[in-house]
Amino acid sequence: DDAAEESNVSAELIALRKRLVDEWNAWRALSRREGPEERGKSGKARESEEDKEEIE
């Protein structure tokens, strides 16, 4: 079924879909690279805040 459907889809459309998926994957890779760094920072910030509150 998939093959039959695919053959009806124009080469142009396939190229468009490929471009959209490539763009999406590139954006995901970028935000993942930036992601863990941010979360590391947030973890540290959180700990120091909690420490302060316990002292109070």
Partner: protein
């Protein structure tokens, strides 16, 4: 599954996905086993519509916000209400921080009171992690036996400028939350300073009705009465994707592991023909997340869909309707095999 006496307002899976929490205009919060729809328990005590609910990552605490102007903290297992915070107006939205240490809530703008966003610390004592037992033994006994105390005062509070906020969630950036507004605006706020760090005034052209985060928090999906849903980068508010339907949307949810966005909504009852009401024609719409094309619909509700939640493992989803029903849809084998639009690998 038959569920509430009145329309659903929000449903939420716990982290494992075995439990589904639901709240409704019938004042009651329910918890269900997601695999068979059996009701595990209820959380009673609210004196008005319960607008919003969220559960922590350990399924230990649940928070709810209601039209009786209260934010409540519940013990998930015993069903006991542990703490009540009271405000001048209704609580429209609550959300836990990813690490369970805080809760953010939105209170309604009404009768001379501005819309307010508050952040509360949630007291998680009893965890006992990294405490030397010999040193803190007596402290621990005290903490376990005394009545539960939460800080009555918020850690942070501010009034968002401009249009009132309708939905919110913590982002991975420390002290920054993302909000959706009545005007259609989507914004980032620093909860410490109350400053609007960034905004997209034209994210939507009508009320933002739902906002759900991706697993890693780097993006979110919003739904709006303007009939569209959008994916936003939670760091810079760039609109990444748009899904344009022909009906006002009440909810949007991200399917993990598969490239779909689930959308729910529908015209208000007065605009609907009696045939569609009789036949349960209100549908959950599946959109391809990346290609922005609709891929399928699941019928079932007898009124607009108010809230959608997806199982964290992507094995099923649930929808809550204006009709008072919750429907849990488990996917079969063919769903997981299906590769719409070919073999392209799509990152989550």
């Amino acid at each position: 599954m038959a569920s509430h006496e009145r329309s659903l307002t929000q449903i939420k899976f716990n982290r494992e996905g075995d439990l589904l929490f639901s709240c409704s205009k019938d004042h009651v919060i329910n918890v269900w086993y997601s695999h068979n729809g059996e009701r595990l328990g209820t959380y009673e005590g609210n004196n008005g519509t319960v607008w919003t609910v969220d559960v922590d990552s350990e399924s230990r605490f649940m928070v709810s916000g209601a039209a009786d102007n209260t934010l409540r903290l519940w013990d998930v297992e015993t069903g006991k209400c542990l703490f009540i915070w009271e405000f001048p107006t209704a609580v429209k939205r609550v959300a836990f921080k990813e690490d369970d240490s805080q809760v953010v809530c939105i209170t309604e703008q009404r009768m001379g009171f501005q819309c307010a966003i508050r952040v509360f610390n949630i007291n998680r004592d009893g965890d006992g992690t990294n405490r030397a037992p010999d040193l803190f033994f007596f402290v621990a006994i005290y903490l376990l036996t005394r009545p539960r105390t939460e800080s009555r005062e918020p850690l942070y509070m501010f009034n968002p400028i401009g249009s009132k906020a309708t939905v919110c969630a913590f982002t991975p950036t420390p002290n920054v939350i993302i909000t959706g507004h009545e005007s259609g605006k989507v914004a980032l706020f620093n909860v410490k300073s109350g400053d609007e760090v960034n905004n997209n005034e034209r994210a939507h052209s009508d009320v933002v009705t739902d906002l759900q985060m991706s697993k890693d928090g780097t993006y979110c999906v919003t739904s709006s009465k303007d009939k569209a849903a959008r994916i936003h980068d939670t760091k810079n508010l760039m609109v990444i994707k748009t899904y344009t339907t022909e009906t006002p949307l009440n909810s949007a949810s991200i399917m993990p592991g598969r490239p779909y966005i689930l959308l729910g909504g529908g015209q208000e009852a007065m605009n609907v023909t009696t045939t569609s009401l009789r036949q349960g024609k209100f549908e959950t719409r599946f959109w391809h997340k990346v290609l922005e094309e609709e891929v399928g619909r699941v019928k079932g509700h007898f009124g607009p869909i108010n809230t959608i939640a997806v199982h964290p493992a992507g094995t099923c989803y649930a929808s809550g309707g204006e009709d008072g029903f919750i429907r849990v849809h488990h996917f079969d084998e063919s769903y997981f095999r299906a590769k719409p639009y070919g073999d392209l690998e799509i990152a989550d």
